[in-house]
Subunit: 494 residues, 2 copies
């Protein structure tokens, strides 16, 4: 108990955690009072790590929240952090591990003696342990697993069979199970013996002799009912569950949709294997969303577990460069259209004033449509039949935006174009017509492209975000030039 | 109890929920077994709504999970859905409300008699009730609040003082409070009387005489300790909490960072006002992320609570058009650079082949950098001192990408450019030099722009996502043209 605040006199160098007063606190107003504990905790953590004494680090780190210890470490510059991470005592690493980027946890574990490392691994929650092991090269993983105590080794091997991104790969087995014919008294006794080893007691699952899930009870059902009642009398025979090979994103979406605390994971015969908890669901959603946003901006490759600032330049480079290179060479198609429109440009140079506008309007509206559709696919339930409804909606939006934008710009040309910009004295009305119609066509076709490409990608079982912004922009750059110059040829009778 | 599955014979037209077998199930393999309940539930919901009988709808809807009822309604076409929403019985609406878009809940409430409506409002969780009221026009809101029973009216008025997007605006007051000098026996009796009216019992807070927060206990601390113990002996005197006027995003981030189930919300004197639960945190994070993604693609305005498909075309149009219009006219700056580069273009028309590439490479790399920085700011803790580290990192990434891309394209020009594309027979080496150097400059300056603009927006207390993709692309379009043509003038000695 007593996670975040420090009992009086717990750490040297501070008179009393409860009464510590900062002389400048009064000037910073009431809000600070509220932040005081946080600041005190931070100072103690810093003092402990600065001292370099393992006993002191351990004493302080056990009382601080591990998220605060991690936050302290990641505000240091990289060298200082690495040096401190090498000296994290094993007992501290057990609590800190889940709050560090996985690569750093692995590195810290690497600095420990084999025996200390095995002991840390043995104490980690099983779902996190499996994530860690999955990040290791095969031979190292085998060696680490071999060193584990037999029970943990069997468990790890059985969990390692589920790929990282499945429900089975994310589940924990540290949850409480009861039998339906137990009395509440027996159940409470049984849970009492387990309570230190289970991640979550808010949801307790009931299984039959074969381990198949029968329902669930909440701790409050046990606490507020007579201890003579049977579990079967108070349980909720709800069987909402997910198959272990299902995608982790599906599990996270079920947890959000039904506001669950824990979702049971079962095998094909409905045998209960583990649970995924609400905090795992939050992590999964954050990961998937970051992945989507990065893909939308043309950033590829494995994200890694490091924060932005702690990822080396070369790794950032590797994740970004391929797309940039591919898109650059794709840009030659636009260039080629431009090169072959020399006739139009040289005769009607005034058209170059509106060329970037026509082209960019397509990129902008295409990206908007793609983002809306991608987001809708990941948060709403879109049935396959929604395809036509999406296309019909975007068609109307695109036509509306395109024609209105075309009209606005045509009016601007008709009434506001300075004669100095038009030395060849080309009919202003014709220019307005070409630009206005081109904008209408470019915006409505780009909006449709932006909506259809992600839907098509999904139908082809690709991540819809792959074909988002940069791909669409590059594509509609070409269509924009083609529309603009061919329209000019047509209306200006080149 | 019994939320998602139907006890045998609960609904007419089905022999027995437990034993119902679909003849085609065998052919669809084992996975289906797992989905059977879901399908049965859906069919029952559909049959009930199709019958139009309020008693039947009520009986079925009370046994189904409200998320499933909502999912059924939102797969109907809009007219059929509206017709069904008008006929939702009051008792069903109480459970269904939170799973519908807020506008639809308000509309369904509007169809009820005043008395039935007040009764529904009275039974809604207080945090959701306040969200609903905040969505109403002032006069309607006042009328609805006036009709509430006195206790609920006072509560609503006190909660309505916190803006929607603050911690206070998202908190619920339906949580359990205990005094430190109670025995566990008294505490359990007290909680038993409250258990139907509290949202969460996994975290119970302990307060002093003045209502200031002293700590928390978990239900397991009460269940597994002797009932003669005092609450003060088992409580965790943790005071992690948030001030009611703090931003909701800050609350959600604390919940994720510390893996909390419930975060206490306090006033300036640390008096406990309410709690924010983990599921609210998930909702807040989803909202903020969708908002970010939309802003990044130049979609503005109030999102509304409707799903993509259920938002009318005109509303989509309103949210997207302003940005498109502004960006289109900003595109005139690029056009104007192009117009004033007539000298370069007409003499060295081969340069037009590489113009779109140089310009677009800036947009692509600028958007990448902006997305990385925006995402890092919203998921990591970036201190003000991180500014220089971000700039330094992006400078190196930009230079690396720019020079490598410039080199690749220069080599392509030197060795692969067909002579037919270059009728003026301009020195290939000079073209390679202009394009290569322009790409290096454009990519590195755009990367810096993409990184700095969101940081600057944040420093100016704007949402960093506002200045993302479309704004950056439009800006670097201009710089790209300026770099390209001026470099050509310089190196080709026009």
């Amino acid at each position: 108990m007593g996670f975040y605040n420090f009992p009086s006199g717990a750490a040297p160098g501070f008179a009393s955690g409860e009464r510590l007063v900062f002389p400048w606190a009064a000037t910073m107003g009431k809000k600070l009072k509220h932040k005081r504990r946080e600041i005190v905790a931070r100072l103690r953590i810093q003092a402990a790590f600065d001292s370099g004494l393992p006993e002191l680090i351990q004493r302080i780190a056990e009382k601080a929240h591990p998220a605060d210890v991690a936050a302290y470490l990641y505000e240091l510059d990289p060298d200082a952090r690495d040096q401190r991470l090498q000296n994290v005592p094993a007992a501290v690493l057990v609590r800190l591990a889940e709050f560090l980027p996985m690569e750093d946890t692995l590195r810290s574990l690497g600095h420990l003696e084999a025996e200390a490392r095995t002991s840390v691994l043995d104490q980690l929650p099983d779902d996190y342990l499996v994530d860690l092991l999955q990040a290791l090269p095969q031979d190292e993983r085998d060696a680490w697993v071999q060193a584990l105590p037999p029970a943990k080794r069997t468990l790890s091997n059985s969990l390692l069979q589920y790929p990282e991104s499945t429900a089975g790969g994310r589940m924990t087995t540290a949850f409480a199970k009861l039998k339906a014919d137990m009395t509440i008294r027996d159940a409470i006794e049984h849970l009492n013996s387990l309570k230190e080893r289970t991640e979550i007691l808010s949801r307790i699952f009931v299984v039959d002799e074969a381990g198949r899930i029968l329902g669930k009870v909440r701790l409050r059902d046990l606490t507020f009912n007579s201890r003579r009642n049977l579990i079967s009398e108070v349980m909720d025979s709800d069987t909402l569950s997910i198959e272990a090979h299902a995608d982790q994103e599906e599990a996270a979406q079920m947890i959000t949709k039904y506001d669950l605390l824990a979702l049971p994971v079962v095998n094909e015969d409905l045998r209960l294997l583990g649970v995924i908890t609400y905090d795992d669901a939050m992590d999964i959603l954050e990961e998937e969303i970051t992945e989507d946003m990065e893909l939308i901006s043309g950033i590829g490759g494995e994200r890694g577990d490091q924060s932005y600032l702690n990822t080396p330049v070369l790794r950032h480079f590797r994740r970004r460069f391929l797309w940039v290179l591919v898109l650059a060479f794709t840009g030659l198609f636009s260039g080629s259209v431009l090169l072959h429109s020399e006739d139009v440009i040289k005769d009607f140079y005034i058209l170059s004033l509106y060329l970037p506008m026509v082209v960019a309007a397509g990129g902008n509206t295409g990206s908007q449509a793609a983002t809306m559709v991608i987001r809708a696919m990941s948060t709403d339930e879109m049935s396959p039949g929604s395809f036509l409804r999406v296309v019909w909606k975007e068609l109307r939006i695109g036509l509306l935006m395109g024609s209105l934008l075309g009209l606005c710009v045509a009016l601007q040309i008709r009434f506001l174009l300075p004669a100095s910009a038009n030395p060849e004295a080309i009919s202003v009305l014709t220019v307005a017509k070409v630009v206005g119609v081109a904008l209408t066509m470019q915006v409505s076709s780009s909006t449709m492209t932006g909506a259809i490409l992600p839907l098509a990608a999904k139908a082809a079982r690709l991540d819809p975000a792959v074909v988002a912004s940069p791909a669409i922009t590059t594509l509609v750059d070409v269509t924009g030039m083609l529309i603009y110059f061919n329209l000019a040829r047509l209306l200006m009778a080149v």
